[in-house]
Amino acid sequence: MPTSKKGTKRVPAVPRTDPKSLVAVKRALPAKSARQGAAETGDLTAVSGTPTKEFFVSMLVRDIELLPAVVDLVDNSVDGARRLRPDGDYSGLEVHIQAHRDHFVITDNCGGIPVDTAVKYAFRFGRDKKAGSEKHTIGQFGVGMKRAVFKLGRKFTVRSSTTKDAFILVVDVDDWLSRPDDWDFLLRRTPDEIAASAAETGTTLRVERLLDEVSDTFSGKAWRTDLAADLRLKHSDALNRNMRISVNDEPVRPIPLEIITSPPFRPTVQRLVRGKGTRAVTLRLVAGLARSQPEFGGWYVFCNGRLVLGPDKDETTVWIGKTNRGLPRYHDEYARFRGYAFFDSDDASALPWTTTKVGIDGDSALWVATRERMRDISKPVIRFLRELDRQRDAGDDSTDRLLEAARPRPIQALAATRSEFKPPPMKLPREEGEVGIAYSRPREQVDEAKSLLGVTTNRDVGVKTFEYFLDAEGE
């Protein structure tokens, strides 16, 4: 190879010495606008709108914390796994993260980055619409990897091998920052590293000259626990599909995402499709019960398999503190509550997540509509748990015993068929501060109300119609 690392340092344009091995990776810049009009009229002077690299990089890394940035890198490996194993079984696929005071490495065997993708897209800031988007990915914005490396340090090396080609890309960030107008990175093809089989394909990203705060964090210990805790939640789906992830050699175990599926505690399961064509979003909502684990009670929201929110215990989902509407604040008596919302789409941009994937885009119309539905299907489960608590207080543990006998199952194993949460009615003492209402209506009217409400007891008709009235007319 003719071009040494040193030789490439101050070269303004791409050296074309060996076009086969060294390829410039074009950086996307929104720089066109200011220049075009200027050429037509004499008294217009172009004012540069090109961002300085320092500004650009500082903006890029500003809104993400260190560990979520690392999780972003795992997202890419998981996308690679999905590409490699469309059947969804990730056995044998691994992601290993190692970080120490002076370096960070993430390695996967998840297919690698094809040179063509690397040159045209992978290292550009932002996803180019023309790049032809892949289906059903976690990746969407085209920033995750770049943002992560800038967040981590000032020198990075990416090596990647597919079964067709391989490359290495080394970037000295300080050097790159010092060349204001040249946004390209240089990639070197490494034909001798082409993978012999799919199992040998993969990507290794190494970051050195870590930033001071990063180096401090990685010198300590707590980051390993923190990252593992984040990964076991965010990537429980991939982990449950047998992907192996480790942090400094410690394996990450998925948290159990469970639901009781046996009658009479079958969960509510709904499946809906929103939108059309490639932007169609399939939505699966599940609300029901599992073991009493205060830490895991709440709502979980996934976008293309990646957890973006949860277990949520506040008003972002359903816990809005309106007890009279059946939507109280989260409390330990709801430790058996589980809600799961799975958003899936071929087009990741149709999903309601934020660019950092650490939360929901609250403005998304799809999210707002879905949340209403989540609230609706939560109410019967919440009511059941409140009643269960009262029953327990009255010294009656019959329903508790039934629940103890019901085995929760992994959410992955839940059948796709629709169902509705209809627990057996409980005999209950009247709650303090409560009054009873008794009235009679013609049987056929009550029966009609039963079927409209989807309930089986007269008592439920009374309660539900009352709730319905207050919902519509109340404050």
């Binding site: 401090d216 300590g220 390993r224 626990t225």
Partner: protein
């Protein structure tokens, strides 16, 4: 809050007693770094103040604060009566509420000697100590680390510390069996100190940056399994001076990454103690099969003999 110190009399806790003495052995090595008599000792003296007496006698500490949760007037009067020295400052109230107001301006030894499990209580106090204590500060934490019944062990642990603090490798009931809960608690405590320290360091100027170096990691079992871990919070620029103390020459000091020191108290009679003490070999395994002492018991005795509670405890006033 009424007192619960009648539960176990301190004389019935031989392992705890030994731990205290071993701890002093480790702490005394810091004398080369700073004169320990200048330190402020902050602890939970309870009714017996055994740690206060030991630290005063052995290290010459004369500034002491005891935090006492029992603030019921009758209990408080009893605590006052039992206060061993004039210079012990008593603060009534839970440590979470009172620790913040302690005078943190001089070097200190803080022993958060809980009888409960690791959880929010410890986290809040660790936060206070790391954020406020002047350096150097020796921070020691003791927690109950008994695994309890197998069923629901992980759930209980998770609830106590919060899911995001459950360390990798401790995600099953079985992993928390025997000393597993202690290992997990050790990691949780160390992580928490690290988290608090990195926040403190973000706020501090480069010259004020501090480090934490573990010096002890004990396990013992008077009845429930217990864990003590602790270390020195010191200016990062003092690292060399700390190293010069050769703390780890003490057989009881345990640096981070090394296995815990397990304090085992053999059940032996006074007659056996005298016999073995007289004949304990300088090197090599002690053998007392002639008087019916098994090899492992003899070895346990050898390790703890210097610190073994005497018939009349020397620390009694």
């Amino acid at each position: 809050m009424p007192a619960n110190w009648e539960d176990v009399h301190y004389l019935q806790r031989p392992a705890k007693n030994i731990e205290r003495k071993m701890l002093v052995d480790v702490l005394s090595r810091l004398e080369r770094y700073r004169h320990l008599g200048e330190f402020h000792y902050i602890g939970f003296g309870s009714l017996y103040f055994v740690d206060f007496v030991t630290l005063h006698r052995r290290l010459g500490i004369t500034r002491m604060t005891s935090i006492e949760e029992a603030d019921d007037p009758v209990d408080a009067a009893r605590v006052r009566f039992n206060k061993p020295f004039r210079f012990v400052d008593l603060r009534f109230g839970h440590s979470n509420a009172t620790l913040g107001a302690v005078n943190w301006r001089r070097p200190s030894i803080v022993w958060l000697d809980y009888t409960r499990r690791v959880g929010d209580e410890a986290f809040a106090d660790i936060e206070t100590v790391v954020a406020r204590a002047a350096r150097p500060c020796v921070l020691l934490v003791t927690v109950n680390a008994d695994p309890g019944p197998a069923d629901g062990r992980l759930d209980r642990f998770r609830e106590a510390v919060g899911d995001d603090r459950v360390p990798p490798g401790f995600e099953s009931d079985a992993s928390l069996a025997r000393w597993g809960t202690a290992a997990a608690a050790h990691r949780v405590l160390t992580d928490e100190i690290d988290r608090r320290l990195s926040i403190a360091n973000q706020l501090a100027g480069a010259a004020q940056r501090t480090s934490y170096r573990q010096i002890v990691h004990f396990r013992y079992q008077d009845k429930p399994r217990m864990l003590t871990t602790g270390g020195v919070l010191h200016l990062s620029s003092d690292t060399r001076m700390i190293e010069d103390c050769r703390i780890f020459d003490s057989p009881f000091a345990v640096p981070d990454g090394e296995p815990a020191f397990e304090i085992r108290v053999p059940n032996v009679t006074t007659r056996e103690i005298q016999h073995m003490s007289q004949r304990m070999p300088k090197r090599g395994a002690p053998r007392f099969d002639r008087i019916g002492i098994r090899a492992d018991v003899a070895e346990q005795f050898r390790q703890s003999s210097r610190y073994f509670p005497a018939f009349v405890d020397a620390d009694l006033m």
